[in-house]
């Protein structure tokens, strides 16, 4: 393998961060979403979560507009 070396695996500070956040809050939800997940998947996971938030908000508003 003609290369230097792979990136050092990231240590898990996320659990410490999550512990500093109020359970149930969106901040806690977002950080928990990333814990134990491959960082390469973070962007997709967050984008999906944000999309779901938008859809939920929009659905609630549509219900109100019916």
């Amino acid at each position: 393998m003609a290369a230097t070396h792979d990136p050092v695996p990231l240590p898990d500070n996320l659990a410490a961060l999550a512990a500093q956040l109020a359970p149930g809050a969106l901040a806690h939800d977002l950080v928990s979403l990333l814990v134990d997940r491959d960082p390469d998947e973070w962007n997709d996971a967050l984008a999906t979560r944000v999309r779901a938030l938008l859809d939920a908000e929009a659905a609630g508003l549509r219900d109100g507009s019916a």
Partner: protein
């Protein structure tokens, strides 16, 4: 933790073609060599083995090109490309592994080096499988060199922050923040023509009160319709007519008003390109029908075909149709003219004539389809062209259309005119191309008499049809380009026409009335966006605050570790390292704090200042070393390489380094490779840790082509005695003279060790071997004699040794072989009796 058994370097930086191996059998290796002899090359070789690069390039070069071809020894012949560093690494389970990194490509002016790492012959990406854990960049390897030690202090503030964050391995926190930032940034407010029209309405004073309510609360269809209706009422109430009560009537009145006001205004719609129906060409079946019929036409017996109906009538006559023998012809009455063979021939001919008629029936519509294709193509392209292209000059003048008028109408947006104008001529040309191709095809099909259809006519039509398809494709491209340029021009002109006709607000409200459902959906999405964005912003603030608390805890812990190493190096000083604090959020900057005490021993109330402002050069150096050691221990590195960690100018802290820092590292089972240009440090370390199985080396560079030579050479009493042993019992005067010199060195070392042992026992732990450099046996003996208390005869034995050896060092008679043998035995006895286990273990191989 992993540890090293040996390291071998070949062709790397100063190292030449002869592999230089350093065996590391003990917990600490001590390598001495004057400056520029290859010590740092050796340290960098270990760094290269571990990381595949040298961080010196990142730290010291102002441009990457400066490090081009820097890893391969410049003196290696061109044919010798082998640059490699090998090692035997023992993993946590005690299993030894052969590790080898080969340089594949050196640094170039524009690219990094590349290398191949193998563990036990198998290619590997890193050494993590052996328990060798690297830290995050920039300082990944547990290798301390001058440029890495001072990096923490010379780096820019942001880089320094990154360095300490790398120590704490907080990159995942940064990555989390970055990922959430990206998610937040990707949240885009929805846009739509309806929302844009709504925004314009909300900005109109007369409409504000009608549409402002849509900016708050849940959007509903009722509220949207109410706003639109209210807006229309406000606009129409300014006119002469009464405002209708129903929503639909208000919209209709608004439309009529717009039409009235804009009548005679600039013909904006004439610029708009229409829809072009995609050309599908002519089906292959059409051409097949024409080809088939042309073939039949070429082969048919025209006269026989003409008589087909007559033949049919004849064969319908029963005497002919059922004839089994010759019969008279019913038409010309020729006797026996129709015999069975002739009747069969007539039947065959009639069948062929039927196929001919079928083919003709198919060829006729096929020919029409080809003509229609030409007509459709021309109609299609003319229909998709902007209308103004079809106007002649009088018509343009009548409608007030000209390119100059367009530019004038565009006003400050006249820059849109040029790209639009530049696309008119290509569009016109391609339109003419379609018209010409269509005419050509029509001319061919128009000249065809289907009953005399020839294959070459079908071929010509096919070629013309293909040309028309090509012309249509070219037209489609130019139309697409025109449409792209047309967009901003038409939008601007529409706005300008509306402005001049005072229909802007009316148009916007009517647009909203036409798009109630899209507007409602856009409002829902916009409101959802705002609410999610607000929640995400709050979440980011909470995460930032939480990250700050995590950082505080981490920095406190790291600060304590750095401070512990600091206090080992510089105990009880009035100025000391206090800790690491984040500046603001800590995302970009941190502060390294110094504690200033009024008392000499560091006690008392203290003040905090930034270290970069108050630390001396020596203190900054110490902080760099302390930070590195904290990182190494934190990372759980099994070994550490220290290249001149204490500057020669910092003599007062050298003893603390040898005594406390090395002691702490060894106590934590961290294998130490100490490289130093200070012979005194090298000797004192050997003495201080003589109870350990040290590996002691000297490195020297005599021939740059050969590179540094590393030799294992201890400087202990045992080593001195061992060096004297080969001369025992030899009678040649020169050999005996050399033997006396060797023995004299050993005796002096014995005396120094006895003195030091006594001083250490009495509490003076800072006394070092080098304190007695330059003292000869005559000066040492009075200090040692009182210490020889185990046997009354010991003092005399030592006097005899001194007396015998003295001539050996001068131009006197050399001691006899027997005398030398006796003195050697006495020296070994002194070592055993007075120094005991401290020197019992051999310190050299």
């Amino acid at each position: 933790m992993a540890r090293l058994n040996w390291i071998e370097v070949r062709g790397f930086r100063a190292f030449g073609p002869g592999p230089q191996r350093v065996c590391l059998t003990g917990p600490m290796a001590l390598v001495w060599g004057p400056n520029s002899q290859g010590k740092t090359s050796f340290a960098e070789a270990i760094e290269f083995l571990l990381t595949g690069k040298t961080v010196r390039r990142e730290f010291l070069s102002s441009a990457t090109r400066e490090f081009a071809d820097s890893l391969r020894n410049a003196h290696l012949p061109d044919s010798d490309r082998r640059v490699e560093v090998s090692a035997e690494i023992v993993d946590a389970a005690g299993v030894a592994h052969a590790v080898r990194r080969v340089l594949d490509a050196d640094y170039s002016p524009s690219s990094a080096c590349s290398s191949t790492l193998r563990i036990d012959g198998a290619v590997a990406s890193d050494l993590s499988s052996l328990g060798v854990r690297l830290s995050l960049p920039p300082l990944e390897a547990p290798v301390l060199m001058q440029h890495t030690m001072r990096y923490v202090l010379s780096a820019k503030p942001q880089d320094r922050t990154d360095y300490f964050k790398a120590l704490l391995e907080l990159a995942d926190l940064e990555a989390v923040r970055g990922a959430i930032d990206r998610a937040r940034s990707s949240l885009r407010a929805p846009t739509s023509p309806a929302l844009e029209a709504l925004a314009r309405c909300q900005g109109q004073a007369v409409l504000t009160s009608a549409f402002q309510p849509l900016g708050a609360g849940a959007p509903t269809q009722r509220r949207v319709l109410d706003s639109i209706s209210d807006g229309l009422e406000r606009l129409l109430s300014a006119g002469p007519d009464p405002v209708p009560s129903s929503h639909e009537d208000r919209v209709a009145v608004a439309r009529r008003l717009i039409e009235e006001r804009e009548r005679g205004a600039f013909p904006v719609d004439a610029l708009r390109a229409g829809t072009l129906v995609a050309a599908t060409g002519i089906d292959a079946a059409i051409w097949q029908a024409l080809d088939h019929f042309a073939t039949l036409v070429a082969g048919v017996d025209q006269e026989a075909s003409r008589l087909a109906e007559l033949f049919t009538a004849v064969l319908r006559i029963p005497t002919v149709g059922a004839a089994s023998g010759p019969v008279d012809c019913p038409v010309c009455q020729t006797p026996n003219a129709l015999h069975p063979a002739r009747i069969a021939e007539l039947r065959q001919h009639l069948e062929e004539s039927a196929a001919f008629r079928t083919a003709r029936a198919e060829a006729l519509p096929a020919l029409r389809r080809v003509t229609e294709f030409a007509d459709d193509a021309q109609r299609n392209v003319f229909g998709s062209c902007p209308a103004f292209l079809g106007w002649d000059d009088p018509e343009r003048a009548r409608r007030g259309f000209s390119e100059e008028a367009v530019i004038e109408m565009l006003g400050s947006a006249s820059a849109f005119a040029r790209p639009w104008s530049e696309r008119i001529a290509p569009l016109r040309d391609s339109l003419a191309g379609v018209a010409a191709s269509a005419a050509g095809l029509r001319q061919i099909t128009g000249g065809i008499n289907v009953d005399a259809l020839r294959a070459e006519q079908v071929g010509a039509a096919r070629v013309a049809a293909a040309a028309l398809v090509g012309a249509l494709s070219a037209f489609a491209s130019t139309l697409t380009a025109y449409r792209g340029a047309q967009g901003p021009v038409v939008a601007t002109l529409e706005a300008e026409v509306a402005r001049r006709s005072q229909t802007t607000a009316l148009r916007d409200v009517v647009l909203l009335a036409d798009q109630v459902a899209p507007l409602l959906e856009s409002l829902v999405l916009a409101r959802a966006h705002d609410q999610v964005a607000s929640k995400l912003d709050r979440a980011v603030r909470e995460i930032d605050a939480a990250t700050g608390r995590v950082l505080d805890a981490k920095f406190d812990a790291l600060g304590d570790e750095v401070g512990r190493w600091w206090s080992l190096l510089r105990p009880e000083e009035p100025t000391s390292f206090a800790g690491i604090q984040r500046a603001g959020t800590g995302r970009r900057y941190i502060d390294l704090k110094a504690k200033l005490s009024p008392e000499a021993d560091g006690s008392g109330a203290h003040a905090l200042r930034d270290v970069v402002a108050v630390f001396s050069d020596s203190q900054l150096n110490c902080l760099g070393l302390a930070a590195f050691l904290a990182r190494t221990v934190r990372a759980g590195a099994g070994f550490v390489v220290l290249d001149d960690p204490v500057p020669a100018s910092d003599d007062e802290h050298r003893a603390f380094f040898l005594e406390r820092v090395l002691g702490e590292l060894l106590a934590s089972s961290c294998q130490v490779i100490l490289l130093t240009h200070e012979q005194r440090t090298w000797k004192d370390a050997q003495l201080r840790y003589q109870h350990l199985p040290l590996n002691v080396f000297q490195i020297a560079l005599d021939d740059p082509r050969l590179g540094p030579i590393i030799e294992e050479t201890a400087d202990t009493l045992d080593a001195a005695l061992n060096r004297a042993r080969p001369y025992i019992g030899r009678n040649h005067p020169d050999v005996r003279k050399t033997a006396a010199e060797r023995r004299r060195d050993a005796t002096e070392r014995l005396c120094k060790l006895l003195i030091l042992q006594d001083l250490h026992a009495s509490g003076n732990r800072s006394a070092n071997l080098s304190d007695y450099d330059g003292k000869n046996l005559g000066q040492l003996f009075p200090l040692v004699e009182p210490l020889l208390t185990r046997d009354p005869s010991d003092s005399g034995k030592l006097r005899v040794i001194a007396a015998q050896l003295n001539p050996g060092n001068h131009d006197d008679t050399t001691p006899s072989a027997a005398d030398l043998k006796v003195s050697y035995g006495n020296l070994k006895a002194f070592r055993r009796d007075y120094l005991g286990a401290a020197t019992a273990a051999p310190a050299s191989a």
